[in-house]
Amino acid sequence: MERGGLTNATVELPRLLLASRDARPRPDAEIGGVLLHDVGLLDVIRLSAAGTLPVAVDADTVEGLAPDEAAIAFLVERLRLPIVITRRPALAARAGALGCVALLHVHGLDSTGWERAMAAHPGPPVGTAVSPGLILTHLDAEQLRSLPRPVLAYGLIRRSTERDAAFAAGADSVVVS
């Protein structure tokens, strides 16, 4: 892959994603991609073209982007972003149908909210981005087993021990900052 956009049909979730508002990665060979969040739409366009690593985008946090299918199609088909994260199940399903790695963003705040969020999950091929990523190690075996893959641990992972614990709990990828 030569730039941040999709260049082939087979896309995998990098093991480590760097949370960033800039597509230029820090000098860390372990970082396999960049997750753009809390940026403007024009920045996403610029950064998706400029990056050298696969670019993921947290679509719900992009200023100027509507929460609708047109926005998802733009990210996947026009910008060719390989990984799209959204809290909206229908949009996650749409992104998955368009061929990118689509992740439903689920907030793990308490067990009741968790059950509600998972009940709305569209299921494979849509995977799951779990926030905070720290919560993965506190889910029970059944909750972990029922998570549609791939699973991204997203948020508040600041220490190497926390990263390792997330992988041990079953994360396929971890967002670091």
Partner: protein, 194 residues
């Protein structure tokens, strides 16, 4: 029951460090028979809560209503006023505007701090500093030890930890990390919270 004060809540949590988070009638039955000093009502018809709150009071416990989660009541001044009239001792919300309304009504105000990312924590702590709740509840509470350095130095009020709290070990760990008490729907902890 006369109007509860923040110190009434602190005393209850000092005596037993676990609040009962209740969503169903069965859970309410268990909560009013438990050792928990405060019952957190997270579901139900907010317009018909007065008998439920009375039952909580009759059991000698404090009643906390989550205005964002109960049906029928908006998280605004009028909604909070209704809950005050229904007998709630405290109202909990993640919205600063609602928390300010709770204080204005003379109830104990509890603000939820939703910890999904570092940015979310920053925003929530800024909101807390503006709305000045009496107590903050951190969710998911079980991660408190990992984020205590981000939260506690900027917090000047007592902290509850709620969310995925399942065992006595969790309770002990969270209190050691700085929580005043926990809130949980795990019934076993309502009688033996560590």
């Amino acid at each position: 029951m006369s109007q509860a004060s923040p110190s009434d809540f602190l005393a209850r949590f000092a005596a037993f460090p676990c609040g009962a988070a209740v969503k169903t009638g069965d859970e309410l039955d268990a909560a009013v028979r438990s050792r928990a000093g405060a019952v957190f009502l997270l579901r139900g018809n907010g317009l018909e809560l007065a008998p439920v709150i009375r039952r909580v009071h009759d059991a000698g416990k404090l009643a906390v209503v989550h205005v964002d989660l109960v049906d029928g009541v908006a998280s605004d001044i009028a909604g909070v006023r209704w809950l005050a009239r229904s007998g709630a001792d405290a109202v909990i919300s993640s919205q600063g505007q609602a928390v300010r309304a709770v204080r204005a009504e003379g109830l104990v105000a509890i603000q939820r701090l939703l910890c999904t990312s570092g940015a979310a924590i920053d925003l929530a702590l800024t909101a807390v500093s503006r709305s000045q709740p009496h107590i903050v509840e951190l969710l998911p509470g079980v991660i408190l030890p990992a984020v205590a350095d981000l939260v506690l130095p900027r917090l000047g009020v007592p902290l509850l930890a709620g969310g995925f709290v399942r065992s006595g070990d969790d309770v002990r760990r969270l209190i050691a990390a700085g929580a005043l008490a926990v809130t949980t729907s795990e019934r076993a902890l309502w009688n033996a919270a560590g």
